[in-house]
Amino acid sequence: MEAHQWMVNYTRQTEWIDRRGIFLWIAFYAGGLGGGLYLVSLYFNSLWGMLVSWLIIAVIKGGTHLVYLGKPLRFWRIITRPQTSWLARGFIFVMLFVIFGAIQMMLTHWLPDSALEIAFKTLAGIMAFAVALYTGIILKNIKGVPFWNSTLLPILFILCGLLGGFGLSVVIALNGGDINLAAAETGSRWLLLANVLLIGIYLWRASVKEGTSKQSVLEQLRGNSAPIFWIGIVLLGIVIPLGIALAGMIANDMSTIVLVIGVVCEIIGGLALRYVVLKAGAYKPLVAKPQ
């Protein structure tokens, strides 16, 4: 009877989260985080931030996504067909970001403030935004999983990536990097609030949309994914960073270790958000009404 639960009950997708799907989860998150950090680094004009974001996208995002593929040596087939799907476009965005970002960092180092540097900053910035955005579009386009089929998802992923980017910029600032710590903290706080608001709206809209997406929401709030949702997203991703942010506003001075803990919690929260979104994506029963 177990073998056909996928036919008669709500069934969650497994390919993109279970077993080797873990690589895809990391790839999706790293894309958002790296893209977000690059955009934040552009704002602060931080070469260190740009370098870290470049490494995140080139090594972690690109690497884990390639490892996930069943036939990784055929990846060239993907990048030569941008007209096919957002997955192909995403691979191209990553590749272009790696190229433009590398040229831009060399120009920033050796030819700062040149027209060429600005041009490559713009190009790499556009690609970073696209890298952070496309994973959300990939999921949004899947009609069979109603929980993902929402225009809010790419926005949520972008905001989550920017939040992680501001978080990492705080760490770079604490380590003597070329970033204004106070500005990074302020940006982090506002984005955290925006994320909380958007997660709430997203879950509410999904729960009233139709039965299957409501089931996905329930899976997160009460089902097997509930510990990750409540501990990973709510406690570590929202409550602790928010508490640290409020304490920082009141005390006006926070120790480095507390700030770093806050950033680590934010990163875990972002990872948990991607994990739960992928894990809770469910299909309608194929032939029966849901039980």
Binding site: Q13, Y68, G70, K143, V287, A288
Partner: protein
């Protein structure tokens, strides 16, 4: 021309002959099935059993074709959706995008042989030569496209001549499966769909499947006004991945 199939739910006896025939026809590894069966029971004292023989629906607007980043999954002019395993990169976007969950990723653990670590049967040896399944790629039912193409080349008519008809249709002892041209109003499939009010699974996805079902008791529609509502919620009684 658009090849399609009609599954008569009132005739299927859950013998799994279609599943077995497909395995033999395509030398399928033990871990995967292209067609699958699900049997469902509704009603209290006099329960009604419906068995759904499901497979790739060869959708006219197939989500798998839309999302494939390499062009490995394509829809032919005759409506059959095929996967070129030499082009598939194993991203599994098509598997996730299929709302009917009728695609399978062939991983190593699904192709360990019929008797893992003990003996490789002659059937498996023949399969390795005749029908290569590539680990790390996606698979699905292709309406026995090889039989159709070979049959047409000989001037045969798929759905009428056995040699040009999918193996599962030929094998079904209850004649629950019918194959033919959906675009031909005089074909048997068109007649069955027309006369017995054939329906597709989840029409709300606008994928326009080429597999139709007739004489179903449950699951025909999400709309309670037009659905043949069961007396109690359906319960799965079928097994067999």
């Amino acid at each position: 021309m658009r090849w399609g199939m009609v599954v008569d739910l009132s005739k299927c006896v859950r013998c799994y002959a279609c599943v077995a025939a497909c395995r033999i026809e395509h030398f399928l590894p033990m871990g995967i099935n292209w067609p699958r069966l699900v049997a469902m029971e509704t009603g209290g004292d006099s329960p009604t059993v419906s068995t759904y023989s499901v497979r790739c629906n060869q959708c006219k607007d197939a989500p798998c074709v839309e999302v494939c980043p390499t062009g490995a999954t394509t829809r032919r002019e005759d409506g059959i959706v095929t996967v070129d395993q030499d082009k598939c990169v194993g991203c599994r976007y098509c598997i996730v995008a299929c709302p009917y969950q009728n695609r399978t990723f062939l991983s190593k653990d699904k192709d360990q042989g019929f008797f893992p670590g003990r003996v490789v049967t002659d059937f498996e040896k023949a399969g390795k030569k005749l029908y290569k399944h590539q680990i790390g790629t996606t698979e699905k039912c292709n309406f026995c496209v090889e039989r159709i193409d070979a049959g047409l080349a000989k001037g045969l008519k798929p759905g009428v001549d056995r040699e040009a008809t999918p193996a599962c249709v030929n094998t079904c002892p209850a004649r629950a499966l019918t194959f033919g041209d959906l675009d031909d109003p005089d074909s048997e499939v068109s007649r069955l769909i027309r006369e017995k009010k054939g329906f597709q699974l989840h029409p709300e996805y606008n994928t326009d499947p080429s597999v139709f079902f007739i004489d179903g008791k449950i699951g025909q529609s999400d709309d309670p006004k037009v659905d043949d509502k069961p007396e109690k919620e359906p319960e799965a009684i079928g097994v067999g991945e």
